[in-house]
Symmetry: C2
Subunit: 345 residues, 2 copies
Amino acid sequence: MPPEAPPHWSSQRPTIRDVANLSGVSKSTVSNVLRGAGRVSGSTRSRVLESIEALGYRPNSLARDLVRRRSNTVGVLLGDLANTFYAELVKLLELRISEAAHTTIVCNTDGRLELERARVEMLLERAVSGVVMLQFSGDASVLDELAAAGVPVVVVSCWEERADCVAVDDRAGMAAAVEHLHGLGHRRIAHVSSHLVEDSTRAARYAGYERAMRSHKLEPLMLDADDWEGGVARLRAAVTGPDRLTAFAAANDLIAVRLIDRLESIGVRVPGDVSVVGFDGTDLGAHSRIGLTTVAQPRSRLIAEGVGLLLEQMRDPGRSGAPRHVRLAPELVVRASTAPGPEPE
Amino acid sequence: MPPEAPPHWSSQRPTIRDVANLSGVSKSTVSNVLRGAGRVSGSTRSRVLESIEALGYRPNSLARDLVRRRSNTVGVLLGDLANTFYAELVKLLELRISEAAHTTIVCNTDGRLELERARVEMLLERAVSGVVMLQFSGDASVLDELAAAGVPVVVVSCWEERADCVAVDDRAGMAAAVEHLHGLGHRRIAHVSSHLVEDSTRAARYAGYERAMRSHKLEPLMLDADDWEGGVARLRAAVTGPDRLTAFAAANDLIAVRLIDRLESIGVRVPGDVSVVGFDGTDLGAHSRIGLTTVAQPRSRLIAEGVGLLLEQMRDPGRSGAPRHVRLAPELVVRASTAPGPEPE
DNA sequence: GTGAAAGCGCTAACAG
DNA sequence: CTGTTAGCGCTTTCAC
């Protein structure tokens, strides 16, 4: 054991101190060149840079975060990664977030409030510098905790008055779906939703559906996708007989596609016998085999605007003011799952 | 301003110190009850717990991580979240990881080595306690860096000799696909892959395909899915004429489904004119409209075993020994995208 | 321009 | 069983 070995060298990962020693300056100076802060002479800077290189020094975020009291990470809360709409959003998010020099933590809540709470608690312990919710239970206490901790929050893809938010106009989108079906001559149109659709979104989409139905003096009918696991008979009954349903406006693409699966499994053809419209505009519905007519959400813009709002909040910690809301227009994409109904105009 | 206010109270988030003061014990004791370490008397414990409650104290992971030099997070590297196979794996992973009291960081590399490197660097700075790679470039330096930092790594769903790994037998799986097609009477069978499929997996699946073809004295033919963006003519040529292909064994479900999209767009019917087999067993292929015959991977087991290996490594830092490999058996799931070919047996 | 010093909030020996 | 004592590696005034 060489007695010359500086006490701090040799073992372990090199620290900022090792770099300082090697380049004959103080920790502060190294810190300055690392952060590009303060004025550092060119010669010192390059000497430090060389040492960093030589030592294979890598800054320790843990230490930096502790003193900064923020971890340069953003938490993403969502309901279900297996729904490709969310997976696609997360992919876009991760890219944007890492471009902003931050790390992405994902939290799949399965739409369960308890899990949402637990995950938020965890994010708070980790001192995330921001949270984006792709799905939100609507529970006020969650928002309060986040606000109390001064953590920027933005809700993306579902509407939320109490926080910065960017989402499409669900009511208008759903209404467009109904108008499309109505224009094709459908009159008995049901809305199909599921508990997996987050509350406020489910409500808004249903509202859009209902309003459109009533404007045509049609009776709204809400069906629950979760009910059909075994209830094949019920589904069959719904699409047979004189008063049979001829069209479905689903709350999202996944529900729509699964509905088609079920319908065809009992011999009902789409769009031959009934028409189906989805919502989201996922790649899933775009496959030619599925050819789902759907109300597409502008995913990239959703994320771009959402991250924009988040970064603004992060930049400006003292922000008070009312929450900002961005409402994007959805777009009806007509494909092959809808066809003329019994009363074409 | 009350002069009695303990200097540390009042502003900011309460710290372990505030809890100590309020309950009249030392920081260490609080720390002990928090961690369930050391012996703490029941009365002290409950007093501390009360203070925690009263103060709304929440431990600061940043500080804990700094001293522990590990962040209780695990990084997940993957190629493409928009591929539902990976999204589904990430969902399962996040669940398992959070059950193990860890946080999940996702990194989408888009299959680009530069991004993979950058992300790993970031994970190292963050001192993650483990990394699971759902896709891996195969770059040795990446593995070396991780090893040098003493970070447990497990590669899941693609084969990797140099690290702990759990994956299905790609060659056997692909061979099963070919056997299935051959058994149906197909002879001209092409393999379709893409650069989005990570290298070693692509190689293994092709190898399985080739071996099976040769065992039947058939000529292997490799097609590139990325080529067809515009090359409709080429595809049409491949499935027309006397020597036309009658079946495709795709490297994964996504490629298979897109292939079907293209095939049908040029008027070729599946399985009427040609048969198609996928690989992965994603939910995408399971939709009745698509009904993709595929080689399914046992996703839950993949993740369960993978996380198991990771946790073992984390538990036992000094682990040397050879990497451990778990090879799972894939399972052919026959659905509606394959039908008898020109030479049924 | 550069360095010294004082922590960030918590853990982990080691005494008592 | 509980308290004391050192830091973990880095940022950040504030002197020099």
